[in-house]
């Protein structure tokens, strides 16, 4: 079969070219290497947090003091994680949190404190413990602060410092600030104070209402700009709009980036937000709905179109055979 042999040659060179310009080139392009030239493999670890990444990063920097500090911090976190928290006692401690995390949507020290209505459901337990112990260390942005008490939430280090209290308040959140979460709620609580999503009419101050009068619309726009300026001053850059992020970055990048922003973008001012696996699934669902809403329709229509052409080709094959029968 000469035709099949020719087809094999064409297919071989086409696939070789594809392999070289897509998987291989992209791997080479985004490869990260350490000081010794060894490749750093960034993998997801199921949205649990025990400081492994942070310690490895400090080791790569060759900063012995930092390594000791990170190790000590995350071993403290592990200690608290093993304690049994008392949700009832935690309620009183949680009142401290409500001073800022009250849903008033007012900027405090650079950002709007996030709403904690579903904190127990969407954030990892270890992360919550770490965050109360030292917010900057937990979110892996301690390089931004000479003294981590200057973090907008830094004062928590002094108000809730007892390990039992921390265990209690986390137990309280896991019991009372949990329940069913919609993708929109998860996304709003975890991401919206910094990121806008214009395709869902969402800005840093929440969903944009409909205005009948231009004047009200402009007044709202100015409020948004003012908030964006504050976030920009605090973060150094205005965090990007996330409308198309699901297609601009792809699942693997988003997953590893959200788990530990420093891994993919060393030096970024984006904090780790500490989503657990469920929280991430919700956030991803929200981003997919905003940036790739036709995914479902696409996957449903595909088999029909391809099936049609398979049928068409089979018919065409028999027609061709019948037309060429008496030629040879």
């Amino acid at each position: 079969m000469r035709e099949l042999k020719i087809f094999a040659v064409v297919a071989f060179f086409s696939l070789l070219t594809y392999y070289l310009v897509e998987p291989y080139a992209h791997h080479e392009m985004h490869k990260k290497v350490d000081a010794n030239g060894n490749e750093i493999i960034i993998k997801s670890h199921g949205f649990t947090y025990d400081g492994t990444d942070d310690i490895a990063e400090a080791e790569r920097k060759g900063d012995a003091a930092l390594v000791t500090k990170k190790k000590a911090f995350w071993s403290d976190v592990a200690t608290v994680s093993k304690m049994t928290g008392n949700a009832a006692a935690g309620e009183a401690v949680f009142a401290n949190c409500m001073a800022c995390h009250n849903g008033a949507n007012i900027n405090m020290g650079g950002v709007i404190p996030p709403n904690l209505d579903h904190a127990g459901a969407i954030y990892d337990k270890n992360y919550l413990i770490a965050l109360i112990k030292d917010p900057a260390m937990a979110s892996n942005v301690d390089h931004k602060y000479a003294d981590t008490s200057t973090h907008p939430m830094g004062s928590i280090k002094f108000t809730v410092s007892d390990n039992q209290q921390i265990a209690d308040v986390v137990a309280y959140m896991q019991e009372h600030k949990a329940g069913e979460v919609t993708p929109k709620e998860a996304f709003t609580e975890a991401c919206v104070r910094c990121h806008a999503v214009r395709y869902t009419k969402t800005t840093q101050i929440g969903e944009t209402p409909k205005f009948k009068y231009k004047k009200d619309e402009l007044a709202h726009e100015i409020k948004v700009i003012e908030e964006q300026d504050k976030v920009k001053a605090y973060m150094g850059n205005l965090p990007p709009d996330l409308s198309m992020m699901i297609r601009a970055r792809g699942a693997h990048y988003l997953e590893t980036f959200i788990e530990n922003p420093q891994g993919q973008l060393p030096g970024t001012s984006m904090p780790r937000v500490g989503l657990n696996a469920e929280g991430y699934e919700k956030v991803k669902a929200y981003l997919s709905e905003a940036g790739d809403p036709s995914k479902k329709a696409r996957e449903e229509l595909g088999p029909w179109v391809i099936g049609f052409f398979i049928f068409f080709t089979i018919l065409a094959f028999f027609w061709k055979k019948s037309m060429w029968r008496d030629l040879h």
Partner: protein
């Protein structure tokens, strides 16, 4: 034998042609139709809320709904009542799409004569939107789907009052 073969060959060819025509033509036609459908954002914008408590008798209010002008006329006590009136408390309102039923121009309201006059081809409608016989407009001004909520009028949603008018054949 020869004939039989030729027939079979023709049959496959025609089956292939029909498959291509139905599959590609039909698929393309259907997708093309869907592409021209009004977008979700256009449909979502199809609701307008108007507060009727600010209306003054015999003064025409024109609102925009789905890009069309909507006439809202609060009737005075002397004006003739009609089944097409929207009644809120003791007030009667004439509500209609402000496009002449002849060819779609916007008629002007003549305050003193209590009638709508269309300058394009001279059609006339009374204050209840009924067309004057013998002139170009073939039917009364259309009533948009509406719903009453207190003193608010929601355009684009069919409420019980609207459905009643529709059932009675007072509008299309």
């Amino acid at each position: 034998m020869q004939e039989e073969q030729k027939e079979r060959r023709d049959f496959i060819g025609m089956a292939l042609g029909a498959t291509a025509l139905v599959g590609i033509g039909g698929g393309l036609g259907f997708a093309a139709k869907r592409t021209w459908d009004p977008l979700p954002s256009v449909k979502a914008a199809g609701f307008t809320t108007v507060d009727l408590s600010v209306a003054k008798p015999n003064e025409l209010i024109v609102e925009k709904w789905r890009g069309k002008p909507i006439f809202i006329l609060k009737k005075t006590a002397e004006m003739e009542a009609n089944d097409r009136d929207v009644v809120i408390g003791s007030d009667r309102f004439h509500i209609s799409i402000g496009l002449c039923t002849h060819l779609g121009c916007i008629p002007a309201y003549k305050k003193d004569d209590h009638e709508f006059f269309c300058a394009c081809h001279g059609g006339r409608f009374n204050a209840s939107g009924i067309n004057e016989p013998g002139l170009p407009p073939p039917s009364p001004l259309e009533i948009p789907p509406f719903k009453i909520a207190g003193t608010e009028l929601i355009l684009g949603e069919a409420g019980p009052e609207y459905k009643k008018m529709l059932d009675a054949g007072l509008t299309v």
